[in-house]
């Protein structure tokens, strides 16, 4: 009886998920095995692997995939570097104002990627605030190109996804017993050693969670690389847009999306294996 009621309770949600997520996903997968008819924008629904062969054999798409993953990894590294001190400070020092600080961290995310990115355009573009200021101060005659390159896109990705790193880190670091650090320091461990041997290993669950969130958000992002890359930085997201909205080759764009999901799935499995490996390690401060 209990099982029947559970099924009944789950049914609306499952139906909705099937309708709005699974069925488009199945159609996406199906479309990726179709192709465009020659000299036409119409789709030929005959099964073919031609789109996948094109992705696997064209160095441009493989290069774009590599660049997208590299951008994701660098974004994770920068977010980690910036996020750890911020999270630790919020977790340890800002006990009373933690709630407010967390809200401040999350607020930009609520406004959406577009608004944040356009804000960065105002700041970093050739006619932006920073270039204007540098010109006013007489430090430059011609604007510095902050946008239209990987550096500009990285700034945008870090700005957009830093909260995804900080939030799980705060949760993890807030749970760490302060005694462990105090004990290490009392035994003469310098600050860097406390970080390397105590804080980082114990914060690993938060680091992994934040890294996964930031990495997947970065490699699948479209708005930030499209706007801050100014058409010059190609990522898998921008190439998918180009193929679907500009070239109108929906089957190939679908194949690109499926290829990206395949790569992300493999990466997710690899991360899972790493996580399991970490869980098997003896933990500092445990009874063993």
């Amino acid at each position: 009886m209990a099982r029947k009621s559970t099924v009944l309770l789950l049914t609306p949600g499952l139906l909705l998920t099937g309708a709005v997520f699974l069925s488009p996903f199945v159609f996406l997968g199906l479309t990726s095995f179709w192709t465009q008819r020659p000299n036409s924008l119409l789709i030929d629904p005959a099964f073919t692997l031609v789109n996948y062969v094109r992705i696997a054999t064209d160095s441009f798409f493989l290069g774009t995939l590599f660049r997208t993953i590299l951008l994701g990894i660098v974004t994770v590294a920068i977010c980690l570097l910036l996020g750890l001190p911020i999270a630790r400070w919020i977790a340890r020092r800002a006990v009373r104002t933690r709630g407010i600080l967390v809200v401040l961290m999350v607020t930009p995310m609520v406004s959406g990627a577009l608004v944040q990115t356009l804000g960065l355009v105002n700041l970093l573009s050739l006619l932006g605030v920073i270039n204007g200021l540098l010109k006013q101060l007489g430090l430059i005659d011609w604007s510095i190109r902050f946008l239209g390159n990987e550096g500009g896109v990285l700034i945008g990705l870090v700005q957009a996804f830093l909260p995804l790193m900080v939030l799980p880190l705060i949760t993890t670091l807030a749970k760490l017993p302060e005694d462990l650090e105090a004990a290490a320091r009392s035994l003469g461990a310098p600050a860097w050693r406390v970080w390397v041997t105590i804080i980082l290993p114990l914060a690993m669950p938060g680091i992994l969670a934040g890294s996964i969130l930031v990495f997947f958000a970065s490699v699948t992002s479209f708005v930030t690389p499209q706007i801050l890359g100014q058409g010059k930085v190609q990522t898998f997201g921008t190439v998918m847009y180009q193929q679907s909205a500009l070239v109108n080759d929906w089957p190939f764009a679908s194949a690109l999306a499926m290829a990206m999901m395949l790569v992300l799935g493999v990466l997710l499995l690899a991360v899972r294996a790493v996580r399991r490996g970490l869980e098997r390690r003896p933990v500092i401060g445990s009874a063993s």
Binding site: N39, I43, K232, A245
Partner: protein, 346 residues
């Protein structure tokens, strides 16, 4: 008496006829129907609302819903909905319209209709020709003493200061074809075209926002860029240091907005009424005076001052560079990859 009754009847009939002739002509009552039109936003939307949608809604009782966006959105929608379209009219580009007709997603222009006859001959390729423009050069007046020819963009001192549009599109395909011609070939020789265009690298900006581009040209951060005439002439009024040139060797590339009636659309009669007003003298005159898009309707009479700034006659069209759009469409996907790899990468 008999004569008197006939007279009264005749008078009554005359009175009814006179009364009905004074009321606005209701072509047909479309109350409750909604016409869906896919078109660009901004000034084009504004002029269509003023000159077409307002009067059409008043006369027919119908509602007009605009789906604003780029042509890519509209092409995707009319192809995806081929068997059950929800859009009645789609505004497309010169190169998309013939392809859409060949694929059966739009209705062929009807030579028997007055709107077809009013448009200059040989312009209704695939759909009804809505407006004329040409790809010319927006330039910084300090960088060029006189309006430049295409070849001037390749001057060594301007390397890295020529902005380009996004590919694919009529602007990007246009400048690629011009590069091919300057290399002694044409758009059919992709290798020559890409090699010549790549000489402009590094590209400082792939523009998608005209205001941003014009601001950069105005202060000299960008020396020049290929831009479609109507947008450029309308936009440059706000800047002091910008000029616009129609080059002559080769001539500017012909571009054209097309009004397409979607095949099997829900409201074909209403769509035709919309097309009559959009292609009519009032709207096309407003397009010319405010947007600097040349009229295709041969009945439009423009002030000589405005006319001088536009492409507005078959004679002028014959001086423009016309591209083999079906060939460009056929190669669009492969050339997009080449553009990404050979033009965008510094």
């Amino acid at each position: 008496m008999k004569y008197g009754l006939n007279g009264i009847a005749s008078l009554g009939l005359c009175a009814v006829m006179a009364a009905t002739s004074l009321t606005p002509v209701l072509a047909q009552d479309f109350t409750g129907q909604t016409l869906v039109v896919g078109v660009w936003g901004g000034d084009i939307e504004r002029l269509l609302r003023e000159n077409v949608i307002g009067p059409l809604e008043a006369e027919t009782g119908a509602k007009v819903e605009l789906l604003l966006g780029g042509t890519g959105d509209r092409v995707a929608k009319i192809y995806a909905e081929k068997d059950n379209p929800t859009m009645d009219i789609a505004f497309l580009n010169i190169f998309e319209a013939p392809q859409a007709l060949a694929d059966g997603v739009v209705v062929a222009p009807d030579p028997e209709l007055q709107i077809f006859k009013d448009i200059w001959p040989d312009m209704n390729n695939g759909c009804y020709a809505m407006s004329l423009a040409a790809l010319g050069i927006v330039y910084n007046k300090d960088a060029f003493a006189t309006p430049p020819e295409w070849a001037a963009l390749w001057a060594p001192e301007l390397k890295g200061k020529i902005a380009l549009p996004a590919f694919p599109g009529s602007e990007a395909n246009g400048i690629l074809a011009i590069a091919g011609r300057l290399a002694g070939a044409d758009e059919h020789d992709a290798d020559a075209s890409f090699a010549k265009l790549a000489e402009l690298k590094p590209i400082p900006l792939t523009y998608s926002n005209l205001d941003e581009l014009l601001s950069l040209v105005d202060i000299g951060e960008v020396a020049a860029a290929p831009v479609i005439s109507g947008y450029a002439i309308a936009g440059m009024k706000n800047y002091e240091n910008i000029g616009f040139a129609f080059p002559t060797d080769p001539g500017p590339v012909l571009t054209r907005d097309m009004l397409c009636l979607v095949a099997n659309s829900p409201s074909p009669e209403l769509a035709l009424l919309f097309a009559e007003k959009a292609l009519g003298v009032v709207n096309q005159t407003a397009y010319a005076n405010e947007l600097y898009f040349g009229p295709t309707n041969s009945n439009v009479k423009l002030d000589p001052e405005i006319s001088a700034m536009l492409i507005d006659s078959p004679e002028e069209v014959s001086t423009l560079t016309q591209l083999d759009w079906p060939f460009l469409i056929e190669n669009r996907s492969a050339w997009t990859d080449r553009w990404n790899a050979e033009i965008l990468v510094d």
